[in-house]
Point group: C2
Chain length 328, copies 2
């Protein structure tokens, strides 16, 4: 028997229920992993709360990013062996499988060997954040001379975007709500920090960029502030909206988009892993970045599996700087 | 003295006031044109009504697309001569100059020789519509196998987009509010016509495209229907919003944009003419299309300058199919 966290209904963090279950043997093209660390993602909180477009079948397993050791593989799985240290990538749909557990069955296709130089906690913290933030390089080719506004900069994906921008020679501008995280963001690679609730972002960005604006904006929040972000952008710029954390509707920024020829793009990391070639190249880049220490996962705080409710509360508190990890 | 139409305040079509004025001699880098035909654009109605981001200085001249004959050129203008038949392109800002007149001073840089094979009425009808619709080729490279949804298909730009899509081997799908213009749109090159108020656009487009959706959408209307358009799109598609005719706010279509990696792009034709190289190439393409009869301006109706108020009413009625042209 193993501890497994599932939800039997959608709602606040308290709907996360820890149960003792027999997770069984892996079916066709599946493996069983003894989980060492679980990386939390905001989409899991949305899924739990009923704010995600995929509706669960109850009871629904939770979580899709983890590290651990393979315990068993199905007969048709040839490229993974018991005893191997692996990462579970969030390439399946929320609720199809789940890694909030001591042991989990997951698709073999979602499992890759863990990078050798990372701790289990770090290994549970890399794939979602770097594959999501990789949009700034993979889609918009961030490079020397570019300014990249990273909104919700202290999130795990935000810090990943800052690291990727620096690696590409671009200049990351961290946008964060208040000045409390300024020093930490500067230490973690932000070239500039703008506290959106305390200063005029457009004016600040225009000062930083010599009046040109930022070519790339990376935003998981959406809502009315997108109009402000658009006004801070350069001609031909791209604004990625990769989440809807504001809970408010996002208006298309009509005039700045029209007159500056802006692209307002949706983005989810699955855009990369749905294409084998893009996925292979992306994995290579991330592993190289980690090996060269251009990319360094930042861990905000760890919780035990018994503290999963508290971990979700913290996930939704926006207090963290980096990734929240849960260990069984 | 010449008849000149100006506005002394913003408001309904009746604010267009016809006056007898001496338009004077061209200043530095300007030319004076005897106007033969004036092409109307929806942005002029928005400017007149106070729904355009550029605020006029009163009294403000009106209009920026025309054909005519050069009467006089400034001393520094070497590439244009009196007697030459020309087009005035809408490359200056609304209200800076105006061509709703018998004679008009315009910047020499906004003037090009008129294509030889066109009537003055046709010559006043080409540049705004083709340079605007050229986005589908110039930005998104519409080609064989692509489906292009053209919203407000019976507008001058809509018909231009249909012609450009056909020229590129793509399949234009005309979206129009009701079925009344179906036959006419099919005759003017639409491969399919969908009456948005009378049928389920997503279902129709999926049927037409074998479930793939349209890679390109070209929309001057905006508003809540953008969500429906986004649901009818293919993965990696681009939705151009090049106007706000609905008068309603446009929501960013969050989930379809995220999961299909859509780009929602602003667009104005000035994006092309602000860059000399792009402008030169675009002019070449349009002239070639006209010469090869791939592009054929469609004239909805002509008015005289004395009927300018009525012409604006008609412009805003959405009854037209093609370009509205006014002759002095």
């Amino acid at each position: 028997m193993s501890k497994v966290v599932r939800i039997h209904e959608q709602g606040p963090p308290e709907v996360l229920r820890t149960e003792e279950l027999d997770v069984g043997e892996p079916g066709i093209s599946e493996v069983r992993v003894r989980i060492e660390a679980i990386g939390l993602n905001r989409s899991e909180a949305a899924f739990r709360a009923g704010q995600y477009p995929v509706k669960p079948k109850f009871p629904a397993p939770m979580g899709y990013e983890a590290s651990g050791v393979i315990e068993a593989v199905a007969a048709d799985v040839n490229d993974l062996q018991p005893g191997q240290r692996v990462c579970v990538l969030p390439t399946y749909r929320l609720g199809e499988y789940g890694v909030y557990a001591e042991r989990a069955i997951v698709p073999a296709g979602s499992v890759v060997p863990a990078p050798a130089n990372l701790t289990p906690i770090e290994a549970a913290s890399i794939w979602m954040q770097y594959l999501t933030a990789l949009a700034i390089i993979e889609v918009t080719h961030a490079t020397v001379g570019d300014y990249v506004i990273v909104r919700a900069a202290s999130s795990s994906v935000g810090l990943a975007a800052i690291q990727l921008a620096n690696w590409a020679g671009a200049t990351p501008i961290a946008a964060t709500r208040r000045n409390t995280k300024r020093q930490a963001l500067l230490q973690h690679g932000a070239a500039h920090v703008i506290a959106t609730e305390e200063s005029d972002l457009v004016e600040e960005v225009m000062k930083i960029t010599g009046g040109r604006g930022a070519r790339i904006v990376f935003d998981p929040v959406g809502g009315p502030y997108v109009e402000t972000l658009a006004r801070a952008m350069a001609v031909d710029g791209t604004l990625f909206i990769y989440g809807g954390l504001s809970g408010q509707p996002t208006m298309h920024p009509h005039w700045p988009a029209a007159f500056k020829n802006l692209s307002i793009r949706g983005w989810v990391a699955s855009t990369i892993w749905n294409y084998p070639d893009r996925f292979a190249r992306a994995k290579e880049l991330v592993l190289r970045g980690l090996a060269e220490r251009k990319l360094r996962p930042v861990i905000a705080r760890t919780f035990t599996l018994d503290e999963i409710v508290e971990a979700h509360r913290y996930l939704e508190s926006n207090q963290q700087l980096g990734k929240i990890v849960v260990t069984p």
